[in-house]
Symmetry: C2
Subunit: 330 residues, 2 copies
């Protein structure tokens, strides 16, 4: 039994393809976990494991301390097996994430999606794909592709708190190479921004990840500017280019069409939203809600199905914009 557990621990200790572990390293880790074994045993175990097609594990050829790794592109094996429920949910998640995440980010999960596919392809479940659909609410803009190698470096830099060096191509600028002190990632629309400082400067920059090239990890630790917190930085509205006017709650009153009323019944704006009938074709929606740019976008997107009644200044804002639009289209 002890040997079985040792095999499990060994399988855990062996990393995925780009990384690797040498036989002596493995021995050391196993011994520190409490397995009192000989190097020869570890060597034999590795040979046994790799000789089974079940475990796509391989080692470097030649080079003296052999290094072991899981061959990439294989989907993970797991216990207990992925249930059909989970598999279905993975496929749904895949559909949802497709227009949101850049391919190089999404592909990090492809092993799991493949596993889900396999699970659903068993005999009877074949036609599941024809049984699920999504009607998108928003216009799918194409997510900007990020170079996979760049993404890998940025991930690693953020996780390990290290700086990196990369070439950046700003929209109206030529390429430049920076020494980057990464502070955080922010997803906005379909773009991923790196929040960072450059070189030894202290001003905080937003850099779109898809504009990077040739990233390379440096051996210098990240220095966080005094008082910096990503959450606050976002809350300050640094990413809502046209900054929010009033980030505080407002008491919103809307006159809406029956269709919008039904939609808000299904998916309310907030748990305390109230809806009352005005007449057959109009309903009054009352809700306390954060006065964000997203709210404005949403209200505008509904066009003539919604009339903002209160607060007065929001109504005035809409009236002003509509009069601008009137002039544009007349």
């Amino acid at each position: 039994m002890d040997t079985l557990l040792r095999y499990f621990d060994m399988l855990c200790l062996i990393p995925k393809a780009p990384n690797s572990i040498s036989t002596p390293e493995l021995l050391e880790k196993l011994q520190s976990t409490g397995y009192d074994v000989d190097l020869r045993t570890v060597q034999r175990d590795l040979i046994k494991i790799t000789s089974s097609p079940l475990f796509p594990i391989s080692s470097t050829e030649g080079k003296k301390p052999l290094r072991w790794f899981w061959i990439d592109n294989s989907s993970p094996m797991q216990f207990p097996m992925m249930s059909t429920d989970e598999a279905l949910t993975f496929k749904l998640a895949e559909i949802f994430l497709e227009p949101l995440l850049p391919p190089s980010v999404r592909s990090r999960l492809s092993g799991y999606f493949d596993l889900a596919d396999k699970r659903l392809q068993e005999s009877k479940f074949e036609h599941w794909a024809e049984k699920v659909g999504v009607v998108p609410n928003n216009l799918p803009l194409l997510p900007a592709e990020i170079e996979p190698s760049v993404l890998a470096v940025v991930y690693e830099a953020l996780l390990k708190n290290q700086r990196f060096k990369a070439t950046y191509h700003a929209v109206h600028n030529s390429e430049k190479t920076y020494d980057i002190n990464p502070l955080g990632l922010v997803f906005r629309h379909n773009v991923i921004y790196l929040v960072a400082t450059l070189f030894e400067y202290t001003d905080i920059k937003q850099l779109a990840l898809h504009r990077f090239k040739n990233a390379e990890l440096l051996d210098r630790v990240v220095k966080v500017p005094e008082g910096f917190a990503l959450e606050d930085y976002i809350a300050e509205g640094r990413f809502n280019y046209p900054v929010n006017d009033n980030p505080e709650d407002i008491s919103l009153k809307l006159k809406v069409s029956p269709f919008i009323k039904q939609m808000l019944q299904e998916t309310p704006l907030s748990s305390k939203q109230q809806i009352t009938e005005i007449d057959e074709d109009h309903y009054l929606v009352e809700v306390i809600i954060d006065n964000t740019r997203q709210l404005h976008r949403w209200l505008r997107s509904l066009g003539a199905s919604v009339e903002v009644l209160e607060p007065a200044d929001l109504r005035a804002e809409f009236a002003a914009e509509i009069s601008t639009l009137s002039k544009m289209y007349q």
Copy 2:
């Protein structure tokens, strides 16, 4: 070595908690996989496996053919281990899916999210959560909660092609119990709809999943109406309540502000989009695109930052709506 593989196969054959497998069943499956073993061996193996805290596997007490299962609520163990990249991506996916999927759907993946948490909580990666943020583009409407037991039955019914029975509470109706012939799931806004026929009728209904109660699987096979295909059903516009006028491509010309221009450079409407400068404050965007409801929503949401120049009928449509709005707000 053969025994190690047998253990792996056994671990795969044992299902998760609500399900279970009896010792003789296990024996049979192992033998059909090619393991020539005795029942006694299987029994002994099971005892060994369950006596290790590594494998949260348990069996029924008493009842004679013992049934084995993985104890629930445990996150799966997997080989190779989840990489930090994957873990980070899982956390991002979690953030993205949170406003999109109802809790009961999302919770199906919680084991994986937990696994990702564990992976990221190792020593040095502690502060990753403070390094990732999302600035939502859309107003987060609250996804309607679906009863977990209902979801389980619906999933199973769809996968196994079986009917089910459930109580449905339509908005302006009292509760009724239907015999449901499920055809597919459609996600729209934040609501999941079941497309189905009822009893022996042939007209196709859309039923919001969160309005179901007390679902129960029936032992009758699903009958798909002649010529029905979910994809076509959606394409026909059955879910765009105000049906799309022209589902065909149009040649769109927009006059946009510098801000929108920059946004479209980052995340284009299509790969063939063209942008040219009109003057310092205005750019011309030309693109061939599907004339969908989502496009209209998007155009409206941008307010006065965008002027539709062509096609003429779309411009006319916007002009008409704006004049309606003008009257509303005057």
